[in-house]
Assembly symmetry: D2
């Protein structure tokens, strides 16, 4: 393995939720070193945080534009190679675009952009740039998710005819039922959070999981949202009927008011020869139904798994790895892509996943607003 | 307890699937004695079967009409009091109607009738008759389903805003993918099986469970079916968006091609204060999510349960009772009603459940055929 | 099937815990008819109960001896064929012995007798009588327990080297910690309950399950009891090391103070080629570990099960049957034996199981009292 | 937070199993920086590996003694502060002792030493040194294990009376049944692996978990091993009866031939007021039985947890953290101790745990060899 890749961080400060996940994930396989960052919009906070986590402060910039400007002045072999964008949603597009346009690789949080329009524009920049773009749909890094994908590719289910995905959380429940709170939280303010809360934040993970595991595209959708209160303008719950081709149908269910649910992402896929069930909160158990046979429970690290799944496990079977390890697998995939190494095509979610995700989110809103009618995805 | 109730059986012969469930259930609480029957259309088969299970053969009639005729000749204190209708679907309506019209109580399998029209007609007969009519939506007899209903009534969830029910089976999977088989099996022949396969056979159970547990009515639905093959005219899979009132939404999912799923009926209900999850294949575990508290797992027979739930358990906690015991609880409710004893209003599914079930089934077909549009239930 | 077998009941009155289980179990497969009984020592109570459950009162006898006397006067084709002994422990031996000596078949609750001495004496009577004797170790009737037995016989585990059984209950916990209660409850009074509480009541079920499933005999044991309080003379908890032959070892754990455990009987069996895990409270799930393969989950009713297992299931997969159905399978086995029909040798626990059970119970007490030393079983 | 702690690594090379766990764990909370190491006995391999993981090679020493010698020459503010000992068992004692004697803090793998004698000697060095010594009983870092400990301390179980721990693995199964393999693998060679295989390698984890969670000391033990073959001299399976004081009893079960079990560490603790069940392979679910209440399922990150448990979680509920995160919590505790910060006394396993562990292992061997008799722990 060559020297560590020089990583820049945008967002993910000490006050953030997701920063720790990226930082740890980037270190897990000894591939990255943080050399520069804008952790916070407040420069002092950024520097304070850099000290706390013992990152040298000389390349902690006062803002994103300065980071680009200054880094470009450095010799290429010192310069940040890849930036990880962990800022709030509305900053993903401008940051990612400028990074690609200036020759940086990008690792970017979801949702990729605020609109489908932006997504397509970013895709153009990406194509022109020739750089690596990885989207952190975290759950695709789990060894058992990868095992599903590989087994489906290898025909374990035969022709798929039904997909059922769910992402249920409950954290908005106490907020939505409090008039005060539901009108003040930024998540439920469309001017700040974008056109969708539930579908944009978590439904899109479920959508991505569906396409990632089945290898099929969602062709059209019909969506019904629930807002719970007249004075709330953002979906906090929704069900989406999906069609994935001739006689391949399914449903994506998402909720932020499924009281006391935590992070209930799950998927069921059924085909002519078999079926799969997987649940994010017990990520190391994959249930495989084979026509006429007892249910089989796959677990990570066993030799019966595919190579791609096995490479995502660091310890022998029975040592539970979790979400940090899953994200680390995505960072590993990105590292290899940056180094130009060959690898499995599911090693990390790509620009295409991001574009499709934005297409999906806008389609759900359109479908709901138009009275729950079918809307085609591109 | 007075003498056992004199029970007549229609259908449920030795060749049937469901007969054993009814026979055992009727005996479990020592309330019924089988005194007459038409187990099969073939009289000899009926008599043979009566001998096998040691039921006196003198009142094994050659057909249903004869049963009515002959029984009416008997003095009232010898006559069959209640008939259990376990014949194929198309016979439920004519049999149940004639029974009610002639002063018999009725226990009837689902779906109650072939059409919504018939259902309303049967309701009229029922109202006129003043007799007991119990519909065997078997799953409503489970102690933990009854516990859900009672806790919801008592406010454990606060205002409900989301319901999600599923009934996934896989047994049609090997049939549907075989051209020969799918065109010959009566289940997929609309002239024999009625207008719906998946929704009529199992979706309706999920629908009933939703209304039974929440105490809310489904107001309107939007449905999408999957037929899998062009040459198949019956739904084998479908998803139904439901609305149960102002900002109360949900989904009912049903499938007969969820490969190797067995009898996967399950429900999730979420409200302002809490949520419930229950699965039919692990019927003795009820998961209660209370806002801000650890998940609680309710089990039958414990003193913390409601009286209604407790009365459905015969042994101390930890002795798993199952589907026979669940059906027995419905038979127990019917027995008490026949005897005119006061009891919980959820003791057995009623004519109203049957009427609503047929309304639901027809609405799903209408919605699908009309291009997946909203259809109101009455 | 010939006419129903004429069944007599001893004990199991309306005030009893276990009577309902036997009554329902005897009816489930249409094999038995209750024709006579002494439900309670109080004759009036017996008659009242007979009326309640609608059993004719003419053969409800005032006591056991009268039952024998009067029944013997009846012509053989009317006489009780088999008696089910459901009285308190100390009555099992005298009743079962007199029944066998007078030519009745016997179905008997566990523990079979109060002492090993009595067990051997009963065995003699049994041998002489040539009658059927079935011991109701209820759990051996579960389809998945029978599946384990058959697969082990067929070599699924190869040579077994380790067995681990557990039976944890918690119901004595609130009693034992209350000085008043623990000195007054008859269960903890050795003059009434016999030499052992925990091992005699539930440990013996675990012991039986070990021998039933593995087909191996326990050769020697070493036991340590816990009494919790100095003033309590009965074991309420204990662990037993077991040896089942050359390099085949294991452990049986039993407790009545495993706080809030319900009926936690479970077994793990490991051999050269594979392992099994089964838990009584989820009786329809059998976990099969095969060297080098994903865990397999067996469930009742599937064609991949053995014939013996399949015959214990009445409905298709996914319809949970429970403890009543398990006991019914034992009653079915006894019925066939009474009729002299050929069947699987595990169809019901036998006299041998009873004798070995008493040997085990006495050995655990001896081992503990002698300072936790090894004691051989015969 | 001050600058990162300067960490040295002994063992844990690219060919090792456990090295990755320590490396990742040390980075997770940004507390440590690897500045020196002897990853392998072969110096070139050590240097190669350092390059691979991008650790500067100038302080990769040719052997342990050189590391000590050279580091001591460095100014204190550059010198390694703490060494992590991840070498094979026989090297733990000499390395840890010399490190302490020379003023280094130590993080050490289990079993702490080869003999109880060595353990006591190391304890002396430790006391004299005044340095931090942390023993990596990995499982004590799980948030739910810590929650158990805190709730027990706070009285959630009342007086404990029963403990039951299990550690079942299956990986030796294919080895032991192959004559060739079982005589060649170093794990089963007492001259290389020490006096015990199963108890020394995994039983000691279960023992530690028992003492860590209950806060009670094991006072005496009685052990029975299984060697499976005459020509094998090392225990591959064993059961240990334990006594933890007046009327507090229990059992520790360990196996390396529990076919296809992975890393099956589990514990059950019962007391007057309640009980706990926890399983390592589903580490984020803690089952709490409270007398008279429904079972409660605790999960990490919720506000109902203790402060100590909460501090071991990095993301909101529902994001599964695993074994790397558990080990990271132990490294975090060690870091704070090294910096002299106050913290929970369960922040990491200590020298006392190591001494007791060795005492336990030797006692089990003594008990077994003496014919399964009680042996006191000191
Ligand atoms: N993949 C996943 O599973 C997952 C989970 C949670 C969040 N996310 C995504 O991660 C992103 C961040 O979410 P979060 O919950 O951590 O948000 P957060 O609000 O907790 O943190 C955002 C961070 O960005 C910093 N920031 C804001 N503006 C900035 C600017 N102009 N320049 C630099 N830094 C700036 C803030 O100071 C803060 O540290 C979101 O897009 C969210 O959708 C993804
Ligand atoms: N509640 C539930 O969970 C559940 C489960 C399965 C079936 N069912 C319902 O039970 C009914 C029966 O289903 P099944 O699977 O047992 O069907 P089946 O075809 O296996 O059995 C039908 C029985 O009815 C008898 N029969 C047919 N025509 C008759 C006639 N004219 N007179 C008398 N007997 C006649 C047949 O001989 C047979 O014994 C159906 O309506 C089905 O929807 C309900
Ligand atoms: N197989 C199992 O899983 C299981 C479970 C529970 C109990 N049991 C066994 O069943 C037996 C009964 O247990 P229980 O809990 O029902 O006891 P119980 O005390 O609840 O009931 C005993 C019944 O026997 C009657 N009786 C007492 N003396 C009698 C006499 N002389 N003649 C006739 N009837 C008499 C009583 O009136 C009462 O109806 C016990 O031996 C017990 O070990 C077995
Ligand atoms: N805490 C846990 O759960 C856990 C799990 C596994 C192993 N362990 C313990 O970790 C230790 C290591 O186990 P492993 O499975 O990684 O062993 P391993 O044999 O896979 O690795 C040992 C490493 O030590 C190196 N080494 C050997 N001699 C050395 C020397 N003289 N100087 C420097 N390096 C040397 C080897 O080159 C190798 O890299 C053992 O003591 C084991 O008991 C603990």
């Amino acid at each position: 393995m060559p020297k560590k890749i020089r990583l820049g961080i945008l967002g993910g400060g000490g006050d953030s939720l997701i920063g720790i996940l990226h930082r740890v994930a980037s270190q897990i396989n000894d591939n990255y070193e943080i050399v520069g960052a804008v952790f916070n919009p407040d420069h002092n906070a950024s520097i304070e945080f850099a000290k706390q986590i013992d990152v040298p402060t000389n390349r902690i910039y006062k803002d994103f534009d300065t980071l680009i400007e200054e880094e470009l002045k450095l010799p290429e072999e010192e310069r940040i190679q890849v930036c990880s964008v962990q800022t709030p949603n509305f900053l993903h597009y401008p940051m990612a675009k400028k990074l690609l346009d200036n020759g940086f690789h990008v690792i970017c949080e979801k949702p990729m952009t605020m609109t489908y329009e932006e997504a397509k524009s970013l895709q153009e920049s990406h194509t022109k740039s020739g750089k690596v773009f990885a989207l952190t749909h975290t759950y695709t890094g789990y060894p058992m998710v990868r095992q599903m994908r590989e087994m489906i590719k290898a025909g374990a289910l035969g022709k798929i005819h039904k997909v059922d995905a769910r992402y249920y959380q409950g954290w908005i429940n106490p907020i939505i039922h409090d008039k005060e709170q539901r009108s003040s939280v930024w998540r439920l303010d469309p001017t700040k959070a974008g056109i969708s809360s539930c579908m944009g934040d978590i439904g899109v993970h479920a959508f991505n999981l569906v396409e990632y595991t089945t290898g099929l595209d969602v062709k059209s959708i019909l969506c019904d949202f629930n807002y719970l209160y007249e004075d709330n303008q953002m979906d906090v719950d929704g069900t989406v009927l999906i069609r994935m081709g001739e006689h391949v149908k399914g449903v994506i269910r998402a909720s932020q008011v499924a009281t006391e649910e935590e992070n209930g992402l799950a998927i069921r896929i059924y085909g002519q020869k078999g079926g799969f069930v997987w649940e994010q909160e017990k990520p190391n158990f994959l249930y495989y139904f084979e026509e006429g046979k007892p249910l089989q429970v796959y677990k990570p690290g066993h030799q019966y798994n595919s190579e791609f799944s096995l490479e995502g496990t660091k310890l022998p079977p029975g040592h539970p790895e979790g979400i940090f390890d899953s994200m680390a697998n995505i960072y590993l995939g990105a590292a290899r892509a940056i180094r130009g190494e060959a690898q499995n095509d599911g090693a990390f979610p790509t620009m295409r996943d991001g574009v499709r995700g934005m297409n999906f989110i806008e389609a759900t809103v359109e479908s709901h607003k138009s009275g729950n009618v079918w809307v085609e995805l591109d």
